[in-house]
C-alpha cells in the first residue's frame, strides 16, 4: 500500500523563515507543498519520510530569499494491482459501490466487478441509493455499511486534469453544481472472489 519515493526539488525559502533551524524550515515548506497531494504515477503523498541532502543556499539577484536544492523521500500511498485492502462503504448507487479509507475516498467498485450473481434493491434510507445483494446457494447476502469490506485492487488511474468549465458557466450553472469534484487518482476495485466483500460474509 505504501511506498517510498525519492524526489529532488528546488525550494525557495521565504525570508520570514530565517529564524528557524534550516531542517525544520525546509521540512515545513515540503509539507505544505506535497502533503495530501497526488503526484502522477507515484500516488498520494502521505508524509515526508526524511531529508537526504540540502544543497545550495544561493541567493538570486533581486530576491530576498535563498534557494536550496533538496533531496528527500516521501511516503506515498500507491496500491498495487492485486493488493487486498480493507475499506468502509461510503455510498452505494446503481453504478456500483464507492469505498473509503478515511484518508482516501475515490475507490469505486463498478457493477461488473461486484460478487456475481447479484441483484439490487432500492435503499429506503438514501435518495438515489441502491442496495446490492449477493445471491449464493439460495441465501441472500446484502452489502450494507456495517462492517469493513475487503476488495482487491483492479486498476489505478490518474485521469488528466480537465480543462476549464469556465466558458459555458452561465448556461450550465445548474449542471455544474452536480458535477463531482475532480479526482486526480481513482482506484478501481473488485470483490468478485472468495474471501472478498464484507468480512461478515466469510468469518
Amino acid at each position: 500500500m505504501f511506498f517510498l519515493s525519492e524526489l529532488e526539488q528546488t525550494l525557495r525559502l521565504p525570508p520570514y523563515l530565517l529564524n528557524q533551524p534550516l531542517n525544520e524550515a525546509i521540512k515545513g515548506e515540503l509539507d505544505s507543498l506535497f502533503l495530501d497531494k497526488v503526484i502522477e504515477k507515484l500516488g498520494l503523498c502521505i508524509s515526508v519520510y526524511d531529508i537526504r541532502s540540502i544543497d545550495g543556499g544561493l541567493i538570486f539577484p533581486g530576491d530576498g530569499a535563498s534557494t536550496y536544492t533538496v533531496r528527500f523521500r516521501l511516503v506515498m500511498f500507491r496500491p498495487f494491482v492485486g493488493e487486498v485492502i480493507s475499506a468502509r462503504l461510503k455510498e452505494s448507487t446503481k453504478d456500483g459501490l464507492r469505498l473509503s479509507l478515511g484518508f482516501f475516498d475515490d475507490i469505486y467498485v463498478p457493477v461488473p466487478l461486484l460478487a456475481s450473481p447479484n441483484h439490487s434493491e432500492p435503499d429506503p434510507g438514501h435518495k438515489d441509493g441502491v442496495r446490492w445483494v449477493w445471491e449464493y446457494e439460495g441465501e441472500n447476502y446484502p452489502i450494507d455499511g456495517t462492517d469493513e469490506i475487503r476488495f482487491r485492487v483492479h486498476n489505478v488511474d490518474y485521469p488528466p486534469i480537465p480543462l476549464e468549465h469556465g466558458k459555458d458557466s452561465d448556461q450550465k450553472d445548474s449542471e455544474q453544481k452536480d458535477l463531482k469534484p475532480f479526482a486526480p487518482m481513482v482506484v478501481t476495485g473488485s470483490i468478485d472472489a472468495d474471501g472478498l466483500g464484507p468480512i461478515s460474509w466469510w468469518v
Binding site: M1, E6, D31, I46, S47, R150
Partner: protein, 124 residues
Amino acid sequence: MKIVEANAGALTNFEVLDLLRSRGAGKDPTRVIASVSPSEFKVFDYLEQTPACNQTGEIVHKFVDECKKYDLAKAEILNVLNMRPSSAVEVYTIIEECDSRMDEKIDEYVETIVRSLPPHPSHM
C-alpha cells in the same frame, strides 16, 4: 521537481504507523501539539483499525523469516502482514495460484500466521 527514484522501497502498514507514532501521533489527544498534520492523522486513524496496530519490529522480522520456506513473493508477504488472514479462504485471495503452489501446506501456513501475528484487538 525531479523524481530521482519512483520506487525506493515498499513499506508495510506497521512501518508507516511506527513512523507516525514516532512523531507523537498516538500520544496527543488534542491533535494540535504534535508535528503531525490533519491528513496524516487520518492515515493514523485508518492504520489503528488494521492488524498493524499490534505488531512490533521483532514480530514482523520473525514472521518474514518463517515465510521463507513457503517461497512467497514480497508483495504477497506484505499483503499477509497488512491483512492478517486467519482462515484458508482469506489466504486464497492474497496468494496467486494457491492450489498449485501451496496445496497441502495451506493449513500449516494459516497456523503460522495465527501463531506469529497478533490479531486486531476488536476481533479477539
